[in-house]
């Protein structure tokens, strides 16, 4: 069980760095516990997030990919706000992930290897928020293998997102505007001043920054002129051709000048529409869809006051009342990546990346291959008959015995031993808490109890754990509640 070490390491680091507590005190921290959030006016009582351990589990799901038992315990002891800090300040956390990646001989131009490479990172990273933000950027400023056709360039783009995961939106937008994979994906490559290609200019405004309705067709044409001249060599080197670039005067969003690509980005970043759009996208990603307008206004203020600082925006969201409100709890449909990675992290499973990558693909989220230039629509669109069946079959594969290396599937006898589970009722309580905050509707709970403790009741004997224990874990991970985040 590597999970205890995995969490203890970073927590120790944080603790010694902050210097306010010693690692040995971890299990008995009281003073750092976050007071329960006040119920907002629209919150129907009761709010499950009033329970500090549920609130931390919610945070780990949203700002990461779910927590293991030891992570849930450790962060609950640390407290909500300190955990937010810890997740945000990941630069201070050692990430030994490279050792795992070095162990694999990935051909840099192998699409399968690329998907596995990222899955290993998401499952095993000690910096879950950095990976979660990398996934956010991959969904927003997306590019896909279907057109880019180069695992090397997509990996470079992914590394760019990771390096800038919580940095400045100006750096991110200026960087992505001359990223080789993006130049191929949205046809910036080879666009010349004679007949500028409109693709990037349009999607930059419609999908990446302002949203439809905040610019004219004329603005698209003018911006397209500023994005001419880019070339991408065979090796993926990006250069600007002075002869193909249109250096003439442009009128864009009411301003006139001899704008370059960077100037266009800067003008876009100054728009209130951009602040509102990015605020809505970030809030929807972490909290819930359709954020309250006053919150969007507040977050837009953070955007401008911090000089487009993403970390400041994410911090404001995670610490907001809205994030910990009853409205936010289980308000999102769990994405395929959240499910595939989350199951692995919750159970502390090992992976070479293949099972979660294939699983997420079957469930409708093939990383590095979004359905179109808008990324994955998400939300209710994650759920249809085929994707739901793939979800059930994915979790099934992790509970039935599969051939493969040890620790890649859920081994309930080891779980029982490692956690000192003393009886079948404790077993049910343990897995229900690990997977679903111990929070099942009474109706669903009654069905499970009848199954477990009715005829041929569950025992902790291997044969019974194999049959009923495994089925319980399957049912919980295929349950309606688990399809939500």
């Amino acid at each position: 069980m590597g999970t205890t070490a995995a969490i203890a390491g970073p927590l120790k680091q944080l603790i010694s760095r902050r210097g306010f507590i010693s690692a040995s005190m971890l299990p008995t921290i009281e003073g750092l516990k976050q007071a329960a959030p006040k119920d907002g006016p629209s919150d129907p009582p009761p709010n499950p997030l009033a329970d500090p351990s549920v609130r931390v589990a919610h945070l780990l799901r949203r700002a990461g990919f779910s927590g293991s038992k030891s992570e849930l315990d450790g962060y609950t002891a640390l407290g909500f706000e300190a955990t937010v800090d810890y997740l945000l300040n990941y630069d201070a956390v050692a990430d030994p992930i490279q050792e795992r990646l070095d162990a694999f001989d990935f051909d840099s131009d192998d699409r399968e290897a690329l998907r596995r490479w990222w899955m290993i990172r998401m499952v095993h990273s000690t910096r879950p928020l950095q990976e979660k933000m990398t996934l956010f950027w991959h969904g927003l400023l997306t590019s896909g293998f279907s057109k880019v056709n180069s695992a090397g360039l997509l990996r470079r783009q992914n590394e760019f997102f990771r390096a800038n995961a919580l940095s400045n939106f100006r750096d991110i937008m200026r960087g992505i505007s001359k990223d080789a994979a993006m130049l191929i994906w949205l046809d910036g490559r080879g666009s010349r001043k004679q007949h500028p290609n409109e693709n990037y200019a349009r999607e930059l405004m419609e999908l990446f920054t302002m949203g439809e309705g905040n610019y004219t067709e004329q603005d698209v044409l003018q911006a397209a002129r500023a994005f001419t001249g880019w070339r991408v060599s065979q090796e993926g080197e990006v250069t600007l051709s002075r002869t193909a670039f249109d250096g003439g005067s442009k009128t864009f969003l009411g301003r006139t000048g001899r704008f370059s690509a960077g100037d266009i980005v800067d003008i876009i970043l100054e728009q209130p529409a951009t602040a509102a759009y990015l605020s809505r996208r970030l809030f929807s990603f972490f909290a819930y869809r359709n954020p309250p307008p006053p919150f969007v206004e507040m977050l837009s203020g953070v955007y401008f006051n911090s000089g487009y600082d993403i970390k400041a925006m994410v911090r404001a969201i995670l610490l907001s009342e809205e994030f910990s409100s009853a409205t936010a709890y289980r308000s999102q449909v769990r994405s395929p990546v959240d499910l595939a990675v989350g199951v692995h992290r919750a159970w502390g499973l090992e992976t070479d990346g293949q099972y979660p990558a294939n699983g997420a693909r079957n469930m409708g989220q093939d990383v590095f291959d979004p359905p179109n230039v808008a990324g994955w629509p998400g939300g209710p669109a994650w759920l249809n008959s085929a994707s739901w069946m793939s979800r059930a079959n994915f979790v099934n594969g992790l509970v039935i015995r599969r051939k493969g290396p040890p620790a890649t599937v859920i081994d309930l006898s080891s779980v029982v031993a490692a956690n000192g589970i003393s009886g079948p009722k404790q077993f049910k309580a343990f897995v229900t808490r690990l997977l679903l905050d111990g929070n099942l509707s009474p109706e669903v709970d009654a069905l499970l109890s009848e199954y477990l403790f009715g005829s041929q009741p569950l025992t902790l004997e291997p044969r019974s754990l194999d049959r009923k224990g495994r089925t319980l874990v399957y049912l919980l991970m295929a349950s309606p509640e688990y399809q939500l985040l």
Binding site: G190, R202, G364, N372, S387, W388, L447, P480, L484
Partner: protein
Amino acid sequence: MLTRRDFLRRGVVVVSAGLALPPIFTRGVHAAINEGMLSAATNNRVLVIVQMAGGNDGLNMVVPFGDSSYFDLRRTVRIPADQALPLDGGTGLHPSMGKLKELWDGGALAVVQGVGYPNPNLSHFRSMEIWQTANLNDVRSDGWVGKYFDRVIDENGHVIDGVAVGQGTPMALRSSKAAVAVVQSLETYRMLPDPAFPQDTDPRVNLLLNMYKAYPQKAPYAALLSHVAEGAHRSSEALRATTKDYKPAVAYPTNGLGNGFKLLAQAINGDLGIKVFHIGLGGFDTHAGELNAQARLLQQLSDGLHAFYRDLEAHGRAQDVLVMTWSEFGRRAQENASAGTDHGTAAPLFLIGGQVQGGLYGEAPNLSAMDNGNLRHTVDFRSVYATVLDQWLGAPADDVLGGRFERLPFIGAAVGGIAAAG
């Protein structure tokens, strides 16, 4: 009265008890006929919608080779006049669509030219919404097929109203009531058991489905979750039951689209009472390097449609099927400097079927009278929908579309439709 939900619940028992399937599945249609909502002549008729996602370059699919303006606008991204497969003296199909030309020669292909809508939107996503909701204003509207389901498929409905091949539910089929199965392949469309305990297979699935039924109605996403889970299990049982009786009569192209068409032919032959099928092909957003990319895609489409049609013919079902293609927009008449074309407006679409009146419909947009370099539409896409709805499916088209649109005479044996209610 039996509600759809009750029906679905009972159905779970029926299916897992292994009783005969067909009467259940066709019952919704019979009920609708008895209530006079659906004309009996439409009983076996199905609609297959083929999406060409990304904005297909209509000018290079149905080439106006008789118009010299075309060659002025297209210096490199052009189909030479002698390569187009002529439909008349000045109009021809893309040269990679030879198989489709065969269907044209047999009278089974109608081409509607200049299809679009007023105040065209050049965003992929907004324009797809407009096409799929048939609503130019309201973003949150149900899909146009979803609205049809809501009106003519009764509450006791079928196990499946629509089937979409691919990854997600197309917006066109979206409705709160209809059961739409999304299938990628029938081989993987099943609930996997725990092989160590085969005797637990059915109880295990039933317990899971019971959890979805017990999930509180007021909890988040309750309706969606229970709908999806029940629909998935039941549609997989129904669709897999069709496998036994179907053998393809032709060799389908070995690509995603070909496999998808084969799946549709199998489901149609299975007589499950499914009225609408949806399948898509992506990649038409040809801002750069268009000639090769579009040729490859159009060939896939043409070969796939041809195999599908011939297979249906061999099974005696070509008369029951109408295929309609669509794309969110055509492309700019003037090519760009990346050997591609940018987002545009009006474009042609295809209708294929044993009862289609083959020929050219509508009017090709005038290349000398454009709107800021974009083609002006000559046929509103809702006219095509209106014709399909009332002359093919016998549905209250005006009600579904929220207005009256001109009908086009591309259906040979129109059912005359039901008069718009009220």
